[in-house]
Amino acid sequence: MPEVVIRKKVTCVEEVFHEGGPVAEKPLRRAAAIVVIRNPFAGSYVENIEGFMDDLKPLGLEMAHTLIAALGGDAKVVEGYGKGAIVGSAGEIEHGALWHVPGGYAMRDVLGGAKAIVASTKKVGGPGTRLDVPVTHINASYVRSHFDAMEVGVNDAPRADEILLALVMTTGARVHARVGGLKASEIKGEDGLR
């Protein structure tokens, strides 16, 4: 399969102290790693694309490590994650789907075998398109306090023949989480859901 050609990398870290309520003792942090690559399938219909998922695995791992470094270097602080992709206009949504396996498994590996499915989203769009990357708890998808999202985007990407790949990790619940549901302290951690 084709090589992975990177044009640009962007890392964003947000630190949230409050949102009008009490200032958090430990601010919530969210980080996004974004990489803009050439879409090797842009411009025509290519039937067999699956092999490119393997080519993307090293990049997925690198991005997962970038996120842990951006959050201070200790994987144990990570409690939520998500992933997403924006495919440039000469590609198709299926090209974005190539990111599910290399992006998701990279984060689960680096986090020591996180159990929950990695929430994801994707779309086709032009440069500057914004993507709301959904975020859920790494070990139990139903933890309500950790349902979150981080908006990502790059003003000059993706160009028509590019794909923007994103991974997101967070360090905790929404800053003023208080709508009940399963708590992180109640996780059984068997099925990735509860």
């Binding site: 044009r7 640009k8 990398k9 964003c12 870290v13 947000e14 630190e15 102290f17």
Partner: protein, 194 residues
């Protein structure tokens, strides 16, 4: 700290390729952005000293964060810029009070030098407003390869009573700069211009 900070975000961009050419070493730039309460929102305040003092604090905090995000020492930074977006209950002059009287001195302290004017932009806007931070060489404003800009935005800022304040720092000029003019090796560094 005088500033009431709701949120801080950092953005790092690294460009590795442009028009199929490798950029070696990659060009890198970082922006640190704070979202603060606007103590002067909703009313006309004649004396803006409080905002000027906040600007001084944020100059140091944001320059240090941007340099740390690049992983370089302050003096190795090459260009810089600053910008602010005032929420709808504030006035443009609030951005001016933060950016112009006192923010620059601590920025220059962090960067070791900084003979040149810090290029700036400001606006009023709603949440998700885009800030284009102008960039110029920190010691000689006429270095043409370093005329640049960096876009930053946050989907949830500024709220009506907030101000978003940004400082950007780079370790390089534009990728593939080739429109002539003063080059960085020709800097005299005396007057901040050449």
């Amino acid at each position: 700290m005088k500033a009431k900070i709701r949120k801080i975000a950092t953005f790092v961009e690294e460009t590795q390729r442009e028009m199929e050419r490798e950029i070696s070493p990659p060009t890198r730039r970082a922006a640190a952005v704070a979202v603060i309460e606007n103590p002067c929102a909703g009313k006309y305040v004649e004396d803006l000293a409080e905002l000027m003092a906040i600007g001084e604090e944020l100059g140091e905090l944001l320059a240090a964060r941007a340099v740390a995000a690049l992983g370089i020492s302050g003096p190795s930074a090459e260009s810089y810029g600053k910008a602010a977006a005032v929420g709808e209950n504030g006035e443009l002059e609030h951005a001016a009070a933060i950016l112009h009287p006192k923010l620059g001195i601590p920025v220059r302290r962090v960067l070791g030098k900084g003979a040149a004017l810090i290029p700036s932009s400001k606006k009023r806007g709603g949440m998700g407003v885009v800030l284009d931070i102008p960039l110029g060489h920190k010691d000689a404003a006429f270095v043409r390869s370093h005329f640049d800009g960096m876009e930053v935005r946050m989907n949830d800022a500024p709220r009506a009573n907030e101000i978003m304040v940004a400082v950007a720092v780079t370790d390089s000029g534009r990728p593939l700069a080739r429109v002539g003019g003063l080059t960085k090796d020709q800097i005299k560094g005396e007057d901040g211009l050449r």
